[in-house]
Symmetry: D2
Subunit: 298 residues, 4 copies
């Protein structure tokens, strides 16, 4: 299984009445299928998965499986707070045809969670899962960071094939890559450091930004792969500005607005997430227009 390249963390479109819109979700995938994206992540943080019911999540899993072109790797977010529920969701994702489960850390009982808890949790999930799993460390949302020692320990499990590390901490990639088995894949979740992550041994990335600017993210990956370091450094700088203005500063509302500008079905996030403020729109319009595929090539 070739888990490398760029994967978008897919957003969840909602209809005007607030219900999930699988048909719009599929429309997005139809367009993504024509890009160099390596696959798709359904029900990740960017997909507002913590705001969805179980039935809504399953509707999206089904839609994703149906719309994805052959050869696109299908990854489902399945992490829940309890170990048992995480296993149940992982099995369900597998039954929907997903090939990999992306399992975020439990994060509520922080004072009780430590390395031993994560080892036990992830090993239980990996033992029970019919599909391989990716660890997922995303402290910006969870307040929990998987540290090098536990990542290295978990990397030994045959059914744990990699990690999505969204911290943007390059030092962790530098440390994990040589200590983990050679086929353990580190994927970064941080678009502003995609190139330095790849240069440090990451195999790819799962990026919210790739839902709005898939071509540019893929282009950076290709520049790195071709050894075009100077060009990669330059495109990285541009992607960092775009990612900061669109994703870091405006979260899912900003990303969905950028998607709308690019012709995807973005729309509004679900409450308590608020729509993008009017005064934030102009900057995103500018950045997206600068990052259009044509503009970059010219």
């Amino acid at each position: 299984m070739n888990v490398s390249g760029i994967f978008p963390a897919l957003t969840t479109p909602f209809r005007d009445d607030g219900s999930v819109a699988p048909e719009q979700f599929k429309a997005n995938l139809t367009r993504y299928n024509r890009t160099g994206l390596a696959g798709y992540v359904v029900l990740g943080s960017t997909g507002e998965s913590v705001l969805l019911s179980r039935a809504e999540g399953e509707a999206l899993l089904a839609a994703g499986k149906e719309a994805a072109a052959p050869g696109k790797l299908l990854i489902a977010g399945t992490g829940a707070e309890s170990t048992a529920e995480t296993i149940a969701r992982t099995k369900r994702a597998a039954s929907f045809g997903y090939q990999i489960a992306l399992v975020k850390t439990p994060y509520y009982y922080k004072p009780a969670y430590n390395g031993a808890v994560y080892l036990r949790h992830y090993r239980s999930v990996a033992d029970a899962s019919p599909i391989p799993i990716l660890l997922y460390s995303v402290p910006v949302f969870t307040g929990i960071t998987l540290e090098t020692p536990e990542i290295v320990e978990l990397a030994k499990h045959p059914n744990i094939i990699g990690i999505k590390d969204s911290t943007g901490v390059i030092q962790r990639i530098v440390e994990v890559v040589p200590q983990a088995p050679a086929d353990f894949r580190v994927l970064t979740g941080s678009a502003p450091v995609l190139y330095p992550a790849l240069a440090s041994g990451a195999k790819g990335a799962i990026l919210a930004l790739a839902s709005a600017l898939p071509e540019r993210c893929v282009e950076l990956f290709e520049l790195f792969r071709n050894g075009q370091h100077a060009e990669a450094q330059e495109l990285q700088q541009r992607l960092a500005f775009a990612s900061k203005a669109i994703v870091s500063e405006n979260s899912i509302a900003g990303l969905k607005y950028a998607m709308d500008l690019r012709g995807y079905r973005g729309g509004l996030p679900r409450l308590p997430l608020l729509p993008l403020a009017e005064e934030k729109k102009q900057r995103i319009v500018e950045l997206v227009s600068q990052m259009e595929p044509a503009a970059v090539r010219a």
Copy 2:
């Protein structure tokens, strides 16, 4: 509605096969009914609510309603990440006969959450709820703190009757009490500062520790109410040691072990929470024995 005094944050007992045990839950309430506790909090953080399914939660709501003595105020934890789901859970709790909803902050999309998000979220919930609500700020688990300005603003809503503040920050109580309406109740969630919280204007507390040591917590509240400040200061010190060793350092596993020692149905927490380590038990045995009602009075 007299929302003052001591409320235990109830734990959830599990059977040996890992299933929820409403009959054990009811057995605990039968004993609590004989104490001076003012009421009960079902499905709070201490109740492992984030590890329960909807059906399991409803079984506990029903059991709590059934077992609670008349006059004991019934509070249900109903906070979910999405506004709509929070409203749904709040209505359900009301339909089960609960009198107050305890609504923790949404906490996943931290970079997007700010004062405006909390105002909108809580007002939407309070508008839709058939029962009054308590705000709930518990950064030790959520990473989110409700600050004075938004608390004071929300306190104006007629259906928001108070807050459970688990930060242990006494300054916030000092600030909120004079700025909020006179009948807005601040409840602390921090046993080690119960007395200074009361001395600063808090009306009571919702405490995990009160599930193991209800008599001592109630006794401290009574000492304060009777103006016995020196005795209150002294008992506070003893409760602080107990709370630190039982709850702060050992979380739900420690609390359940202390409950077992006191004859309640504590048991084990649900995974990913791990059972209490053997080497932590002796210290809890000592503290509980020192805090037995008889020992204190002697």
Copy 3:
């Protein structure tokens, strides 16, 4: 030695040419001498001690000794990064007639500093000092917090007679008081929680706010001592608002401006500290006018 009551953390007045003005410093003390302040802290954080040369500091020590009325306890801030320099400053303060040294934690090499470092540092200073010392924990400036175990351990040293804890964390007072010798004095450095600190066992306070509003701070201390808890709670609320607007939000520039309004020699802070912004002044004018001794008594 009666280390209790209210001590102002004195500010350092500068002349128009930026030089230290010991004559203005003495003028302030002459007025403070007529209040119920228990003594004075010279060269504390509020005194901009880290912005002064050795000669400037000694000029202030001399001026303080000269101007203080008999019976006012004299405390000098002597903490430096190195143990040897801290000892040297402490001896110098003693030679100037100061009765107690206030020794802030070293704080630069944070990754290397731990409990063992603090034990060794403070014991070395206490062993060498001709005068008793107060520990000083002020993480808002240093990023370093003295925790309960090391405080309790250091409290056993015969020449360490107390601590100024500026964290505002009441739980630490609750924990330290019963574990330390009976004559170990906990002083809070946080005006917004002065009353709850006293109610939890603190013996007094060292407060920046007391440089602008000494009468009100002393009044709160007296209310507590007389067992007037309801009045204390009420005055505490008012002091908390004043402290937040004057000190917490505007730092030394705000405090000095409030002093100017009260007829003391406040003036401007030294660079890199900037003068108070114009738009911040009105709120301080209002608060100070509400807190004038006459206004309170009326």
Copy 4:
């Protein structure tokens, strides 16, 4: 002025009686002169500058100037808390023949320090300084981080020629490089991410580790300059382990011990810094032996 390549943050050797040993300091430089180091940083954080008197600091400045080979760039740490003292130290360093001043942020009055304070402070220093200055952001010690907007703003000043950023945050380099003038030099202070920093546009590094392993640090810089990315990635991993065990986990005591092993004059740090614990030595012995120049080439 060619501010690129690897600069060691020099340590300060002490004699057995605790006094500064300029002769040992010079002996170290004599050996460093034979390496590919681009220059030297005297009186940086690693030099225990905050534990030294003014006279001790000047003795080291003189010794450094005397011992450094021609062509080695001389950088002096001159940052103090007050703006005036920073200027005074900077002028003194220039008078000793130093070519660049490394100016760490003021850091004590954190609640009062903000972008405006840093702009004013650094511009005042840069205006007054006879030599160009480097900004210095080192939150691990100061708790203060210079953020992209203020760095970019300060980069416009003709006498501010670069920054030492010790955060290890690669995203900041990605952001600053394209926004600052082309000749603004970003130097990283973080050995574990030297290669990704260079790949992101940094021009070099000031490293504590380079005081013990100068050849290896220079080798990594050269690999990058020659476009040998795969070899750079591999050496980076090895340096990251060495840096973590020697510097991150054991601070100056660990670094000095590693220097001793390599034949430099390391010795003990000054109190309150404690000597390296015995049980930490073996791991450092192993790492240093693996990183000996011969071992790497074999």
